[in-house]
């Protein structure tokens, strides 16, 4: 194991293990596992997609179906993110700044979507907002269509990415403390002014981080959306559903192209969110 050494001013000098066998052994196991499970398959998919150059990918992604899939994905994802951001910030404020009975329950509830299978999410929404669901008749009567249409997909997507904004903002809010907000109040600021001028700027980086995570998650949701969507090509297919549809029609190139597009977006979101996370650390 590593021999520990910290200098008198507290900085830690990372020293190598005294037993190189142990060190190299662990490193080999860890990196080997990651190679086989993560690196190799991802490299393979990129290779397969770009095998014949950029051309086929471009044409696969610019068909009218592909383009509408992209459009639908963006609409659904952005709507879900906007919803979750608004309510996410509100919930975070509630959890951190107020005490009320059931606060702990709310805290656990916020994490719920992470533990629920996306299929179950879809089912749950159908049972409530579908034609024969709880609110089904009310919805029908008012000429609305939620399930098998875009609003349902937005709800499904919002459900699964719900915790992300709350969980990025809440810890920063907690660490910041509410002294600044109290100071603003004593100086005469209203709640809204306090929020806009004091709270919001201080959580800006954490919020950006949460939004990026939320957006990435929303763009990539599959399970829940596949249940509530009508799978109408050109209308209610997101990119992920598009991949599924193309695979079922043995159109591998198109499926791979879309997959690689989403993979690139995922990696990009990792890089961007990393930067925001580093900034929240330095502020707090």
């Amino acid at each position: 194991m590593a021999s520990v050494s910290s200098t008198s001013d507290g900085s830690v000098a990372v020293r190598g293990n005294r037993r190189p066998v142990a060190r190299y052994g662990l490193r080999f196991v860890a990196l080997g596992y990651l190679l086989v499970l993560l690196a190799a398959p991802v490299t393979m998919v990129f290779y397969r997609a770009f095998q014949h150059g950029l051309g086929p990918i471009w044409s696969a992604l610019t068909t009218s179906e592909a383009r509408s899939a992209i459009e639908v994905t963006l609409i659904v994802a952005i709507s879900a993110v906007v919803l979750n951001t608004l309510f996410g910030v509100g919930t975070a404020l509630l959890l951190v700044r107020r005490r009320f009975p059931g606060r702990h329950l709310l805290d656990v509830l916020v994490d719920l979507p992470q533990a629920v299978s996306p299929i179950v999410v879809g089912l749950a929404l159908i049972l409530v907002y579908g034609k024969f669901g709880f609110f089904g008749s009310w919805i029908e009567r008012n000429g609305l269509k939620i399930i098998f249409s875009l609003p349902g997909m937005v709800l499904a997507t919002a459900f699964v990415s719900l915790p992300l904004v709350v969980r990025s903002v809440a810890p920063v809010l907690a660490e910041l403390g509410d002294e600044q907000e109290q100071a603003a109040r004593t100086l005469g600021a209203s709640s809204w002014q306090t929020f806009r001028r004091i709270t919001l700027p201080s959580i800006r980086d954490a919020l950006a981080y949460g939004v990026v995570l939320s957006l990435a998650r929303s763009l990539g949701e599959y399970g829940a959306v596949t249940v509530v969507s009508g799978h109408v090509i050109g209308k209610t297919l997101t990119l992920t559903l598009f991949i599924d549809e193309r695979l079922q029609n043995f159109d591998q190139p198109a499926a791979y192209s879309a997959a690689v597009l989403l993979a690139i977006i995922a990696m990009g979101s990792l890089l961007i969110s990393r930067r925001f996370r580093a900034r929240t650390r330095s502020v707090a």
Partner: protein
Amino acid sequence: MTLYLSFLVLIPLGAVVWKSQSDGWSAGWHQVTSPEAAAALKLTLTISVGVALFNLVMGTIIAWVLVRDDFPGKGAVELFIDLPFALPTIVAGVVLLSLYGPRSPAHVDIAFTRTAITVALLFVTLPFVVRTVQPVLIELDRDMEAAAASLGASPFLIARRIILPNLVPAMLTGTGLAFARAIGEFGSVSLLSGNLPFHTEVSAVNIFNQIQSDNPVGAAAQSTVLLVIAFVVLFALDRLKRWGVHRG
């Protein structure tokens, strides 16, 4: 806020539970214990437990290597560990299929097998333990290890009696989260496993089929089972975290 949460989360989930007994509890139970559903559940739980435990070990090792070791490219590894989190599940399926499926250049074809389920679940649950253990490892008081060394403990003993006990709460949290994720996984598994009933069909797929074949009660009943399991895991984790806070 609570209204938003209710309409989005509570009411729909409540509806699932409600639906499973809309034809009576026994009908719901009958659905859950039907041969196909039971097989799917058994398969799901067994593989999920195995995967969670395996990634517990691997995740801890990876976290250790990321915190205590240094090598070229560590930054890239650090960044892309989270890829399974960020990748859409169906894309994960495509990714794994490209190397371990029918047209694999390495001639490793695990499609339509149970191994495929295991690999898919290992992939999607990879980051969980790493990300819960890593921060604890970083914050660990190195002086404790030095103190133990000065008292005569060998490096192995230090790892076992000093480091590991302090990591256990984080390890358990990560494993629980991984397990909860694994039992509900759909996209990657359905793509790789072929969803053969009684052989490679997991609960999530079975539920999906029930929805498609207009058997909402069956779907709801199985979903309730999954929900209950997930709830139990969540609450247990919450308890664990609070216990861990006191001790260290």
